[in-house]
Symmetry: C2
Subunit: 313 residues, 2 copies
């Protein structure tokens, strides 16, 4: 049994109740029980040494990243974060000043976004650091952005530039909270997600949840400088484009909206966020599957974000 099958079995029959509007499977859960007209958002996420950071990552950046990932999930629902609780698993002989620095990095980002940290605990975790954050947020009921709302013919947009995040940006990225709130106020995306697994994987989450397909334009994919550098350095034939499609941890917003809104959106965006790129990378289609078009051909993209070339090519 692989991890996906395990998750499928564990999430197949979860307990639910009348408060649940969106359960496990979207970026956050959405619950009744908030103020009138609002939904509560609820999310948990953990980062582990050796997987999400290394043993020489500065401790402030560990704390920052643990919270930033959850903030990015609240952004993906077009919500506003409110309060967090934190669990830190620390080795027994862990330097207390290091733990305080982890907390300091998290607190600084929390203050930037007016998030309260209202509880937590440390437990002994031999061998490596684990930081788990659970975050609450709110969203106007009418503005919540799910993965499941894309319709055939939507324009597909992504913020920023993609790929190569593990070269450094994954420790410093800015959760796109302000941009997502602005979008939901003015343009109401049909579907939205944050790019954490990689553009192709996360777009597939939207497509599967919405029951549609999509075609991307290869020349339109915004490739980061880090993706180009990483591709040149590794020399394993993994192109910058493939990196932009498949690398994880970009934490940009990926969303779809009716194609008639595409031009007004791009105009409004340039005025509102002149320093952050927004790119239309393709369109959704009734025909299932994810494909990419260049000058001459249309090719499928596999689950890991790699483009399949025909044997004759």
């Amino acid at each position: 049994m692989d991890e996906l099958e395990l998750i499928r079995q564990v999430t197949a029959n979860l307990p639910t109740n009348d408060s649940v509007v969106v359960g496990a499977g979207d970026d956050c859960a959405a619950l009744k029980g908030g103020k009138a007209g609002e939904l509560l958002l609820f999310k948990t996420d953990a980062i582990v040494e050796g997987v999400h950071f290394t043993n020489d990552t500065p401790p402030e950046k560990i704390g920052r990243k643990a919270l930033a990932r959850c903030l990015s999930d609240i952004a993906a629902m077009a919500g506003t974060p409110t309060a967090a609780v934190v669990t830190a698993g620390l080795p027994k002989d862990f330097d207390p000043d290091h733990a305080i620095a982890i907390s300091r990095g998290m607190n600084e980002l929390a203050r930037e976004h007016n998030v309260a940290i209202v509880g937590g605990e440390t437990t002994t975790n031999p061998d490596r650091i684990l930081v788990s954050v659970s975050l609450l947020g709110v969203v106007p009921e009418k503005q919540i952005a799910l993965r499941s709302g894309a319709r055939p013919g939507d324009a597909i947009f992504v913020t920023g530039e993609l790929g190569g995040s593990l070269e450094g940006r994954h420790l410093d990225f800015e959760p796109r909270l302000e941009q997502a709130r602005w979008l939901a106020d003015r343009f109401r995306p049909n579907a939205m997600i944050d790019v954490s697994d990689g553009l192709a994987s996360d777009l597939k989450h939207i497509l599967e949840a919405s029951g549609v397909g999509a075609e991307l334009r290869s020349v339109s994919i915004p490739i980061s400088r880090a993706a180009r550098q990483a591709a040149a350095k590794s020399g394993n034939g993994n192109t910058p484009l493939n990196r932009a499609l498949s690398d994880g941890e970009d934490f940009e917003l990926l969303f779809t909206l009716p194609s008639k809104d595409a031009v007004p959106l791009l105009d409004g965006w340039k005025t509102q966020f002149p320093d952050l790129k927004l790119t239309c990378i393709g369109k959704t289609l009734a025909e299932r599957g994810l494909r990419i078009r260049d000058d001459k051909t249309v090719r499928p993209i596999d689950i890991d974000g790699y483009i399949h070339f025909k044997k004759s090519e």
Copy 2:
């Protein structure tokens, strides 16, 4: 720097905002942002193999305990739990059926209390299992029970029988949610906590938060059979009474209320909960400190729950 000092430093300057009514330091945080007249409760708690369970604990009981501890914290605020998210840190070659069984044990308890499980994730955690649960709840704003409300002259009550929980009960205990809601509806405790660190330690949390002292009566402390057996078995001079005062993980309710309510409470309780003991174990006093009285003497109880004997005794 010891763990307490680390926690003091980390919690000294946490980010806060207008939503926070009770921050870190009580059984749960309490937040505005719920329905009119209600507060949201928010709690996180983690259990780790080798600390809170062993490598031969049945997996269903691991999942059950991880949630039950959080439910007990919601009970201590007189709240009703609503929704949980879960993080499981699992070794790389972990048996998937074992993970499913952990989930099954948690789900069963969640259903008993109408709690939805709305998200979660598995991460790789070499060496040992870690299960972290974050739980939301609600409480009528006027009925919330904090640690800080005890007044001099309150009667002190505890449910159930104490001590020896690690002999087995810590895997099977029933969170006192129904009892706490009944109490808050009818008698409004001045202060409440769940007994997780041990009676003496947790009572001290109430006393310090409330700025009062207390005197217990040694003959009134409800000592469990497990505490007596553990005391007999260990043969280290640790009496059953000391075990009831100092053993952790009882997860009973400990609360204070005005002494005039003591007799009506005991009468009402017997009718409502005939199978669960409720005992008045002493009273709060204006003079600080925690003491215990037997036939002849009044002696202080130290932070770990041990009674100090004078050298001449």
